[in-house]
């Protein structure tokens, strides 16, 4: 028994071994067997891996074709039988077919397209790949055929996943539902758009509009520009101003786009507010560097503001009343699901509230009254029409105006005992208005799932007009029966000042996604600029009458800068290329031409940015870009005044050019995003007013008032932000330095020595926090701290020599001392810091939601200076002698300012 068992076991072992050996037969062994069995010869290259590859099947068939097919199945080696020879070759890689998935992503509640929504594909054996929606909510992604899983993400909305088997080009439109927020932990996924860890874009920040609306503001007026000024790398200029000074650049070096149309002057009320009405806005993105090739014409930044399209399902709106202004917003369908509109309007009523006070001040004994006031208004309107599955039309319009007016009338008549009657009248009428008008018509067309087109025609105009008229007259009438007489004199003067700039543009942009690794954008644009820098008209009429004799004279003249026409053309191309799973490169080139006054300026502007993905949450980026600018803004450096002039380049004032290199890292942890960036930027042909120059009387010869030089700036920016959760906000810190130098012959400022730029601030810290306690109450706070701005302050009085007609100083000293500064921008204002607080009380009613906002601007009443200036005073000393004294005084305009507003949303 024992022997039998051993024998059976041995036999089984041998059989198993044989089976195993047979199952593991290498191709080489199988070939040898087939050659033996069928009498054929195998021909193959020695590099074929026959030893290492296992033959499939048993190879025991009687048919050569069948045995060959079975043996080489799945081995990656192909065979071809030629008579008695079998030729072996490596099997050709089977081409994988690809198809494109495209579509639009919208908000399910109101039909608004969502910009920058992420689309990520998993599966089909490859690594995750993705794309984002463009400015019109369109996405396109080319993927290999097969089973795929697409995940759609957008901040504030619930993620969506689509599983499908991709066998042809497919259209998938997604309607996002708002995320359900939980106070214990929000169920919101932060988006990973092109500006985040995964994207190549650096130096770009998106601010959610809802977060922006909660930031406390002056007078309760939510403002886009004020929110942008809280970001690292962005300075705000003077207290309360709407200027943007980005990475050492001037306020004219920012391309401000409203639905893709440039806006020349975004300032209301001397810069305290901007023209952007937050209620009409859907998306705001600021680019501080690493500019995509589709943007150009400005050196320092691009602010891309997109208006809402309007709810194409239901009617909604809001009415808001605050301390300074009233606002109205309405949106809804014109044709449900197809055509929608969005309208918003805003007007200040400061002049209405102040009218009684003005009346009291201007009333006099004769009961005359005057009228002085200021107001501004904005109107935004947009109509969106979906003309089929492939076409969409947009019409957008903006008009805003500031009005400052004064109307004073004085008249009186007095009769004396000697029958002499004297009457007089003085009228003064001042009207100063400025504002923008923008109109755009846009057509989106989807040629194919891979090709998207946008064609735009737009108009942008900025104008300001100042009218001053005075009328003075007096008459004397002697009512003497024997010798009556009458005499009168009058003078009428009318002064007008106008400045206009108009742009008409046509643009075509194309997006092409040929494969999953390439996302190509290209386009062309043409713009006609018309500058009317400043035209002054003056009419003076004088007349006098003595009895029957009348004499009159008049002056009627017009002077000012001549009109300038210029044309600008641009062509660009860029590719967002996923080189590997970890390395992504955006490379682009922009070519531009500018023709003015018989001269043509051209430039090539390379743009490149690169991202290395160290992990899903960490990436390192670097970028380089060149920018050109063909227009300049001549402005007062203290406050933004409406007669700031936009002027084109000339033969003596060449185009500005900048080179910027940036490097940094982005890290994402849960719902927090962190970034650190270092930059170095050079600017050529920047302008500054010469010493002693003023923008007043810039009606002619502005080129002689400015000097041309260069600037450079560098710094480090840190940003930590949270966009999702019950507590959102950001902390931004910037360390930076910005310098200027004007040392070219004929363009010397400061003796040719470098000096700090006006808005050179060493440190800048911003903390913005929004906290939602519950559905009824949310609190927001903003703290800003910054090193003071620079200014030129005369600190010493000296004598300076005067000279004779030969301009040689032979008699050195005049007898009037002069105050002088040691160097330009030698003085630094005190540090700026401010705390703003705001609280919203929400109450939901049946048909509407009421929001009551209380805010406190400058909560601890720190008087941040707008200006610093010397003030002469006189005082007596202990001996009773009068002495003159000059003191340094700061002027602040925004002490603690509480405000409130009431908003109804329906």
């Amino acid at each position: 028994m024992k022997h039998l068992t051993i024998s059976v076991l041995a036999t089984l072992t041998v059989l198993l071994a044989s089976a195993s050996a047979l199952a593991q037969e290498s191709l080489k062994a199988r070939i040898a067997r087939i050659e033996r069995d069928f009498g054929v010869s195998f021909v193959y290259a020695s590099s074929l891996p026959l030893e290492s590859r296992q033959a499939a099947g048993s190879g025991d068939g009687r048919d050569l074709a069948g045995v060959l097919k079975e043996s080489f199945e799945g081995t990656g080696i192909s065979y071809e039988v030629r008579r008695k020879n079998v030729i072996l070759k490596p099997a050709a890689v089977k081409a994988v077919r690809k198809h494109t998935v495209c579509g639009h992503i919208i908000d399910a509640a109101d039909g608004e397209t969502l910009i920058g929504a992420a689309v990520v594909s998993y599966g089909n054996g490859g690594s995750p790949v993705g794309t984002v929606t463009n400015n019109y909510g369109f996405y396109s992604i080319t993927l290999p055929e097969g089973d795929i899983s697409l995940e759609y993400n957008y901040l504030g909305y619930e993620s969506t996943r689509q599983e499908l088997r991709l066998t042809k080009d497919t259209v998938i439109n997604i309607a996002f539902k708002p995320a359900r927020e939980s106070l214990s932990g929000a169920k919101v996924t932060a988006s990973r758009s092109e500006t985040g860890v995964l994207g190549t874009q650096m130096s770009a920040v998106e601010i959610p509009v809802n977060m922006m609306k909660n930031i406390p503001a002056i007078g309760g007026e939510v403002d886009v520009i004020k929110a942008i000024q809280l970001l690292p790398g962005v300075q705000s200029g003077t207290e309360g101003s709407a200027g943007l000074y980005v990475r050492g650049g001037g306020p004219d070096e920012n391309l401000l786009l409203l639905d893709g149309v440039p806006v020349y002057n975004v300032n209301h009320m001397l810069g305290f507010f901007s023209v952007f009405d937050a209620d009409a806005i859907k998306n705001v993105t600021l680019y501080k560097g690493s500019f995509p090739a589709r943007f150009g014409s400005r050196l320092s930044s691009v602010l891309d503001v997109r208006m809402k399209d309007g709810n194409d399902q239901e009617y909604h709106g809001s009415v808001s009343v605050g301390l300074l202004s009233a606002k109205f917003n309405a949106e809804g369908p014109i044709i449900k699901g197809k055509t929608s509109f969005c309208v918003s309007a805003r007007r200040t009523y400061y002049d209405v509230l102040a009218a009684p006070l003005v009346w009291m001040i201007t009333k006099n004994e004769f009961g005359n009254i005057g009228n002085i006031g200021y107001n501004f208004y904005d109107v935004n309107a947009k109509v969106t029409h979906r003309a089929g599955n492939r076409d969409k039309l947009y019409f957008s319009f903006y008009h805003g105006r500031d009005n400052l007016y004064a109307d004073i009338k004085e008249s009186g008549e007095r009769t004396f005992e000697n029958s002499v009657t004297i009457s007089s009248s003085n009228d003064m009428n001042l009207g100063w208005g400025w504002g923008n008008t923008i109109a755009a018509a846009r057509w989106n067309h989807v040629f194919s799932p891979k090709v998207f087109m946008n064609v735009t025609g737009n108009y942008s105009g900025y104008s300001q007009s100042l009218g001053l008229s005075t009328s003075q007259s007096s008459s004397t009438m002697i009512n003497d029966a024997d010798n009556p007489s009458f005499s009168a004199v009058s003078e009428d003067m009318a002064l007008g000042y106008n400045s206009i700039i108009n742009d008409i543009s046509v643009l075509a942009d194309f997006e092409y996604a040929p494969s999953v690794r390439h996302d190509v954008k290209c386009g062309i644009s043409a713009t006609r600029h018309t500058f009317h820098p400043a035209v002054t008209t003056m009419m003076v009429t004088e007349s006098s009458q003595d009895g029957q004799d009348k004499v009159s004279s008049s002056i009627d003249t017009t002077y000012g800068d001549r009109n300038l026409l210029s044309s600008e053309f641009a062509l660009y191309g860029e590719d967002n290329w996923s080189v590997t799973d970890r390395i992504k490169v955006n490379a682009g080139l922009r070519a531009s031409l500018y023709a003015v006054d018989g001269k043509t300026f051209g430039s090539l502007e390379p743009r490149v940015s690169m991202r290395f993905l160290a992990s899903d949450d960490l990436s390192f980026k670097a970028a380089y870009s060149e920018m050109n600018q063909y227009v300049h803004l001549l402005s007062n450096s203290v406050v933004s005044l409406p007669n700031d002039l936009w002027v084109p380049v000339t033969s003596s004032v060449p185009p500005m050019r900048s080179h910027q290199a940036v490097a940094g890292a982005s890290y994402s942890w849960h719902s927090f995003d962190f970034s650190i960036e270092g930059y170095y930027k050079t600017m050529d042909n920047v302008l500054e007013y010469r010493d002693g120059a003023t923008f007043f009387n810039s009606t002619s010869g502005w080129e002689e008032k400015v000097a041309c030089g260069r600037g450079w700036s560098y710094g480090v920016e840190l940003l930590a932000q949270r966009k999702a959760g019950i507590t959102t906000g950001w902390i931004g810190y910037t360390w930076s330095r910005s310098m200027r130098q004007f040392d070219r012959p004929g363009n010397v400022i400061n003796g040719g020595e470098p000096f700090p730029a006006k808005y050179d601030r060493r440190h800048d810290l911003c903390v913005v926090v929004n906290h939602k306690f519950n559905a009824k109450v949310d609190l927001s706070g903003t703290f800003v701290y910054g090193t003071g701005n620079c200014g030129t302050l005369a600190t010493q009085q000296i004598f300076i020599p005067k000279y004779d007609d030969k301009h040689i100083p032979v008699n050195f000293y005049s007898y009037n001392p002069v105050s002088c500064a040691g160097w330009r921008n030698n003085f630094r204002m005190p540090a700026y810091h401010r705390l703003d607080l705001g609280v919203n009380f929400h109450k939901r009613k049946k048909t509407c939601e009421r929001i009551f906002n209380l805010s406190l601007y400058n909560a601890y009443n720190h008087l941040n200076p707008l200006l610093v200036y010397p003030k002469n005073q006189f005082e007596y000393d202990d001996c009773g002698e009068l002495h003159g004294r000059t003191s340094l005084v700061k002027l602040a305009i925004f002490p603690i300012m509480p405000s409130f507003s009431l908003t109804y949303k329906f």
């Binding site: 007013y689 010493d691 002693g692 120059a693 003023t694 923008f695 007043f696 012959p745 004929g746 010397v748 400061n750 003796g751 030129t792 302050l793 005369a794 600190t795 010493q796 009085q797 000296i798 004598f799 300076i800 020599p801 000279y803 007609d805 030969k806 301009h807 100083p809 050195f812 000293y813 007898y815 002069v818 105050s819 002088c820 500064a821 040691g822 160097w823 330009r824 003085f827 630094r828 005190p830 009443n861 008087l863 610093v868 200036y869 010397p870 003030k871 002495h883 003159g884 004294r885 000059t886 340094l888 005084v889 002027l891 602040a892 305009i893 002490p895 603690i896 509480p898 405000s899 409130f900």
Partner: protein, 343 residues
């Protein structure tokens, strides 16, 4: 009830505004813009052939009492002013000339030396006064490199004439240099028949009549505007930017009318004294350093500027280390053309 609450809140806010609003505040000057301490102010124009001199005052802090005497604290006995010529270690001592007016708080202290500078000298002036930081400045004295190369007169049929001259400038290529060519209108020389009593009357710049600006042989026509764009209408200054290290000829021409030519020279006798009146045109040629140019430009701005916080505050040029002021130099020459005289 809700409206009542709103009104109470609104009134409370208004009260807060009224109490807390205070917008103008005096500041303490913390010296960031430069020291408040007074410094020496030196001004010296060095001209070849003229004795070396420098005039000294002190600056007064702009924020404070206005009673500052611009000489206060400058002890003439203990102050020391030295000049170093061409890097020499042995200074040329400059003495106070005692010329200031004691009654005036404004007149400078003038220090002079017996040294007569010449073209090519490098002069460094150092001033040391107790209680002030040492101040010094230097300048390279230019040599006169301009001359009238040629001149001709073309008479008109009506008695007037056109004068043309060619001014040759030989730039030495030693840094930025400025030039001025200033023709002067008819100046009258009141001359007791060579007794050399001269009185100039009615001197003023003479406008070019044939060309809007002198044409320059050796320069392209389109450069002419650039040549004079520094001060095209007033002072005819130009730099050597376009002809650095080269020699150029400037052609200047101007008309003299019939009346001026007829009265070019006449003699008369009065009170038994002989008088001669001569009309002439003087052409003043000057080459000067960049420091003098910067001083002149910033001084023009200082005196012309609209005093307003809305205009750019001017910066007074200074090349004095440790102090303020300008040490500069110029070389000049005058060519007189006596009208009507035979050439």
């Amino acid at each position: 009830m809700l409206m009542k609450r709103f009104i109470h809140i609104f009134l409370l806010f208004c009260a807060m505004l009224a109490v807390t609003a205070s917008c103008e505040q005096e500041m303490t000057f913390d010296g960031e813009a430069g020291s408040s301490d007074s410094r020496l102010v030196l001004y010296s124009l060095v001209v070849p052939g003229r004795p070396l001199a420098v005039e000294i005052t002190r600056s007064v802090f702009a924020f404070g009492l206005h009673d500052g005497d611009f000489r206060e604290g400058l002890d003439t006995l203990r102050g020391e002013v030295r000049a170093y010529v061409n890097g020499s270690e042995e200074p040329v001592v400059m003495e106070y000339d005692g010329s200031h007016d004691p009654a005036s708080a404004f007149a400078p202290l003038k220090y002079v030396s017996s040294y007569i500078p010449k073209g090519g000298d490098n002069i460094r002036i150092v001033a040391s006064f107790p209680g002030f930081p040492e101040a010094s400045g230097e300048t390279a004295v230019p040599a006169m490199n301009m001359s009238i190369h040629d001149m001709r007169r073309t008479d008109w049929s009506d008695g007037g004439a056109t004068y043309e001259m060619i001014i040759r400038i030989m730039d030495c290529g030693e840094g930025t240099r400025y030039y001025a060519v200033l023709p002067y209108f008819i100046s009258m020389q009141h001359d007791y028949k060579h007794d050399f009593v001269i009185e100039n009357i009615g001197v003023k710049p003479y406008p070019y009549t044939i060309e809007s600006a002198p044409s320059a042989y050796g320069l392209a026509v389109e450069n002419l505007q650039r040549l004079f764009e520094i001060q095209p209408d007033v002072q005819y200054y130009f730099s050597n930017e376009l002809f650095y290290g080269k020699t150029i000829d400037l052609k200047m021409s101007f008309d003299v009318g019939q009346n001026e030519m007829n009265q070019a020279r006449w003699d008369w006798n009065s009170d038994n004294k002989d008088f001669r009146m001569e009309y002439k045109i003087s052409v003043y040629l000057e080459t000067f350093t960049e420091s003098l140019y910067n001083h002149v430009m910033s001084r023009d701005i200082m005196t012309d500027v609209i005093s307003s916080f809305l205009s750019e505050a001017p910066v007074m040029y200074s090349n004095v280390r440790g102090g303020l002021g300008t040490i500069c130099s110029a070389a000049c020459d005058t060519v007189n053309i006596i009208l009507g005289a035979d050439e």
